[in-house]
């Protein structure tokens, strides 16, 4: 059973627990709530939209913890015929 699960990559609830913990602890440690992230996102959209046409529905703002500390990342797809291919390159704020 165990070998079977390993071969087919079924992960138990532990990996879910780990992912949820990592997310919630990043929020706890930085004191940035999901609500604050949404506010940041809306404001980024507002600022950037003044200068560039962006795909506002697909903007993603997230925080993650890494070895060098916490990182706030905004992924902003730009709508433009010429830059279409590179539109989803993340920009670190």
């Amino acid at each position: 059973m165990d070998v079977f699960e390993r071969i087919f990559g079924r992960s138990g609830s532990a990996s879910v627990a780990k992912k949820r913990l990592q997310l919630v602890l990043t929020q706890d440690r930085t004191n940035i709530s999901p609500e604050t992230l949404n506010l940041i996102k809306d404001e980024i959209i507002a600022v950037i939209s003044k200068h560039v046409e962006i795909d506002a529905d697909n903007v993603e703002v997230s925080i993650a913890s890494g070895e060098e500390g916490h990182r706030l990342t905004a992924d902003i797809p730009v709508v433009s015929a010429r830059t279409m291919r590179h539109a989803r390159k993340p920009k670190t704020v």
Binding site: D2, E5, G12, A14, R20, L21, V24, L25, R29
Partner: protein, 264 residues
């Protein structure tokens, strides 16, 4: 040389702080250390029953702090281990009956007579927790491999560091190897990666914790239990010995499973 104050805390309640304190106390005493266990959970006294010393209480911590009893009168000697003594909490008082400075000076006196002063901290992050951290030379965090416990541990680690104490060490308690193997319980590596502090011990889930607590006989008094052996190793590490961490196999391994089979 004065001893050291070691505070055992967790944030979340019910993860095994009191059981850990009693067993580390017993294990250190079995290793020849002079140990005072202090119950800092004023109003919710429990270390006495876990250690099996509840019938011998005359005075408590608050009596000492308020000058009604001398420290020596309030300390209860464990008859099983002459090196082990308990300072019980008051049961009918509130946390506010003791402050940080009082607990600090109490621990200063205890350090003169004991190698280790173990403080069983109350759950939570309020005044009782702060008081019990204040005198600590070292802090141990008890965590169970569950999301709520790990999250609270992370918060407490931050608070301990904010009080300018050395980075705490971690006990992972109630680990269930069979569940870890199935991928249904956070394993040691997961917890250490998330909390990013050093391990001082892993204690596997063990039914004997319940039966021994029922009797008031901490598991570390005997040699045959897995949890008791884990606490003995923790005590050794606290004394500076280099003891490798155990890798726990699935619920007791083949021998025990066969044994269970034959007992049916």
């Amino acid at each position: 040389m004065p001893g050291q104050v070691l505070t055992i805390t967790s944030g979340k309640g019910g993860v095994g702080k009191t059981t850990a304190t009693a067993n580390i106390g017993v294990a250190l005493a079995r290793r020849g250390q002079r140990v005072a266990c202090v119950d800092a959970d004023i109003g919710l006294r429990n270390l006495d029953v876990v250690m099996g010393l509840e019938n011998r209480i005359v005075y408590d911590l608050v009596d000492v702090v308020e000058g009604r009893a001398k420290l020596r009168q309030a300390l209860i000697k464990d008859k099983r281990l002459p090196e082990l003594q308990l300072l019980p909490a008051a049961q009918t008082r509130l946390k506010s009956a003791v402050n940080e400075d009082q607990l600090k000076s109490l621990c200063e006196s205890l350090k003169q007579e004991f190698d280790f002063v173990l403080i069983d901290s109350p759950a939570g992050i309020e005044s009782g927790f702060k008081n019990s951290i204040a005198p600590a030379d070292r802090v141990i965090i008890v965590v169970t491999p569950e999301v709520s416990s790990v999250r609270d541990a992370d918060r407490v680690i931050g608070l301990v560091e904010a009080y300018e104490k050395p980075t705490p060490k971690l006990i992972i308690n109630r680990l269930r190897p069979a569940m870890v193997k199935r991928g249904d319980m956070l394993d040691t590596a997961d917890v250490l990666e998330i909390l990013a502090i050093d391990l001082i011990g892993i204690v596997p889930e063990d039914e004997r914790i319940i039966t021994s607590t029922n009797r008031g006989q901490p598991v570390a008094l005997e040699d045959h239990s897995e949890a008791g052996a884990a606490f003995m190793r923790i005590a050794g590490r606290l004394m500076g010995q280099d003891i490798p961490f155990q890798v726990f196999s699935e619920s007791g391994g083949l021998r025990e499973r066969l044994g269970q089979w034959f007992r049916r």
